[in-house]
Amino acid sequence: MKIEGSHKIDAPRDRIFAALVDPSVLQKCIPGCEQMEKTGENQYKARLTAGVGPVKGVFTATVSLEDIVAPEHYKLVVEGKGQPGFVKGSGELSLKDADGTTEIQYTGDVNIGGLIASVGQRMIQATANMLAGRFFKSLESETAGNNPVSSTGT
């Protein structure tokens, strides 16, 4: 399944990129993420409750950040397993300056298998889009407006 889209956040690119590679921020922004533990350089183990409405499953996942080119690009590789099935995927995030705001473009390819894929097929795409939307909304509130914008002039 393909996931792609873009999201604009009213904050400087440096700050957003720093947030996107900060595990404590990621934990707050990934919907349902309860725990995120560093296991190596840019590698993390996460525990999350993912789902929609009352339908939920608990997943454990490994997350690694690759091809990091600050402050414009990185690749996110996720492998998760849980009682309702498995998720395997990777996504590329690109950041661009856009009239004082930052535009994040994302494109990913996700494989979902097991029970959740066979019975939840008709809702998976919409769920993925919804979770992506929630992630960027949280990222927005984490990065926009909190602290005064640094005046490094980048």
Partner: protein
């Protein structure tokens, strides 16, 4: 295919159900027919610790007319809606929608309130409820709260119902004159859910459309009012040209679902075609 263990409590009254829900909170789910809940529990996609069954509460199942409104108890089954004389006469959209829903077993046991509270993105009821400008009555320890249909559906499987609230009644404004209503649907061949479902509720006077309610389900992650189609119909004679240009807006402004059965592009096209057919059918019934 065997659910995780759970406690079952058959509430004897709505008050008892509310207090049980207050006691068990997130551990509890309301059982209101169970034709979505039990399959999900058998797959262990939901594992409530307690089920509070509303099925024994007699006074939650009724269809009556009162003070310019039709009132339907939340535990009224789809089949009871389908065969109601009162509804067939004054709001035939609801029996027609019920007749498209699931299969005989689902219609016999499933309830209108259960389906609405579950809020499957491809369920049939939300389309009709939106087209009819219905109100939904939620009740809790604090009393009743009336929610407009347009405010009820938040996202898929998520409604405006708050923790501790139970959907108690659905209220439909009584229409005037001969009803101009229709529900048409592209049925998913395996699940019976709506690939696209369009509910239309028109008021026509002097050959012109005075008001239009159009609810669409199955197309996006939640059912919605096709407001652009509605405004394109209002004040106009329902000729072929008006119908086509109005129906072209059926998928405007929403994220269109895509799955193995129907791509987003195909679904959007279906929404346009079936919206036109539904309006045509509704208008022909007013004559």
């Amino acid at each position: 295919m065997i659910p995780a263990s759970f406690d079952y409590i058959a509430a004897k009254s709505l008050d008892e159900a509310i207090s049980l829900l207050g006691k068990h909170k997130d551990d509890a789910k309301i059982l209101a027919g169970g034709h979505s809940l039990l399959p999900a529990m058998k797959l262990r996609l939901m594992q409530p610790k307690v089920l509070i069954d509303l099925g024994r509460i007699r006074d939650l199942s009724y269809i009556k007319e009162d003070a310019g409104q039709i009132r339907i108890g939340a535990m009224t089954t789809h089949f009871q809606v389908e065969i109601s004389d009162l509804l067939r006469r004054s709001c035939p959209l609801l029996p027609e929608t019920a007749s498209h829903l699931g299969d005989m077993q689902v219609r016999n046991k499933g309830t209108i309130g259960g389906s609405l509270a579950h809020s499957d993105p491809a369920a049939d009821w939300p389309a009709a409820i939106l087209a009819l400008d219905a109100e939904l009555v939620a009740t809790s320890a604090k009393g009743d709260r009336v929610i407009k249909a347009t405010d009820f559906f938040i996202e898929m499987l998520t409604t405006a119902l708050q923790p501790g609230e139970i959907l108690r009644e659905i209220r439909i404004p009584s229409g005037k004159g001969k009803p101009a209503q229709a529900y048409v649907k592209v049925r998913h061949p395996a699940s019976g859910f709506a690939v696209v479902g369009v509910a239309v509720n028109l008021s026509i006077d002097g050959g012109k459309c005075q008001s239009a309610g159009i609810g669409i389900t199955g197309v996006s992650p939640k059912a919605y009012r096709a407001s652009k189609v509605e405004s394109a119909l209002k004040g106009n004679a329902l000729d072929a040209k008006t119908l086509s240009s109005a129906a072209a807006h059926a998928g405007d402004g929403v994220d269109v679902n895509s799955d193995l059965y129907a791509s987003a592009e195909y679904r959007k096209q279906l929404a346009t075609v079936y919206t036109r057919r539904a309006i045509e059918l509704a208008a022909s019934r007013a004559k």
